[in-house]
Symmetry: C2
Subunit: 239 residues, 2 copies
Amino acid sequence: MLRSCTAALRTLRALRGRREGASPAARDPVLARRWFSTEKVIPKDHALPNPSWSKDLRLLFDQFMKKCEDGSWERLPSYKSKYTQKSEDFKTCFLDSKLVKEQLSQAQLFTRGYEDGLGFEYVIFYNDDEKRTVCLFQGGPYLQGVPGFLHGGAIATMIDAAVGMCAAIPGGIVMTANLNINFKRPIPLCSVVVINSQLDKIEGRKLFLSCTVRSADEKILYSEATGLFIKLDPEKSLI
Amino acid sequence: MLRSCTAALRTLRALRGRREGASPAARDPVLARRWFSTEKVIPKDHALPNPSWSKDLRLLFDQFMKKCEDGSWERLPSYKSKYTQKSEDFKTCFLDSKLVKEQLSQAQLFTRGYEDGLGFEYVIFYNDDEKRTVCLFQGGPYLQGVPGFLHGGAIATMIDAAVGMCAAIPGGIVMTANLNINFKRPIPLCSVVVINSQLDKIEGRKLFLSCTVRSADEKILYSEATGLFIKLDPEKSLI
């Protein structure tokens, strides 16, 4: 529902820095703090192949990495945004002070909370000129609805994540205001799908987006959705 | 997206059996097979309090259990529907024969795949006369979106599960065709919300439903949604 502006902003900073030829740490203050602290906590980027990725997912990944070579597409890194890893802006703007610290210390990003291969395996690529993202997604066995197929909620989750990222990069801190999803066909568990998202228009603080979910070979249209996202004022609390 | 007709049918059988005074095993052939087999696999009902439930969730649970005493409401049991535990009808109707058995052997219901307290803690109550369900839901720290708040996908998942159950009991085997969700306010992580779902109308094979997601004290409206579900023919394969 709420887009991680930390991740989006960090990604943007990294992208901008890369274009400007800066070093990774110089591009990203959060990363820099981590790299040069005594803790030496280097976050793991989960948007990279691991042994659980199927041949289909690896093939698509390689195709998009090739498209990244001329700079038209960018692979977006992805981290578990644990409480202890979040940046200062979230601390001041968004955190519910009443929440028990114990619970928050266990918190992790919903889409990155599984062991490799069991849950959401995905990577998102962004095309800045076309204001669109492509998310390659393999839904693991822990995301089951009816036996043999993905749970509708898991599809909705990945749609929210993919469309939301497409909104967060141009929009900054955004919140999902509406998701309207048409489920056309069930998605077999452990298969690979491609989620194409695009920014259709911006009206004031509103960003209108749409997406399709198709099979790896693009022959089957599994779902389509629209999303409305609202730009937030980082100075205001959410609750 | 697809409603577990096994769970819904099993629940219905159990409810009918209970009303008719039959023994638990006699009410439910699947349960009976399990109870009287040499394996003695008794599934765990997850829709019951565990130590991770907050005071708010326990209080609401007790209130609804009291409403169940006169038979107007029923608590719906909830199981991890693993591959090895599913009933024969799914094997023949829905299973993708191309799926690797290894992957399926790990499969588990998306909403029941977490250790107690970390993910989806919920219980659904059903009122047959009013054709509505109430889902009491506590979203754990593994369902985080922006730090401190539930991921929109986790909310969508619980809406799909709650509204879907409200459709599956009168509708039998149903599939989510559309979910349209308005996210009005972010939901603090580890708080308790109440999802009220109701069947609005049936037109042929289409079931139209709606729901609201409110805080435990009902003062805050977090989300509202509509759902369209389609009755499926159990004789036809889904893929």
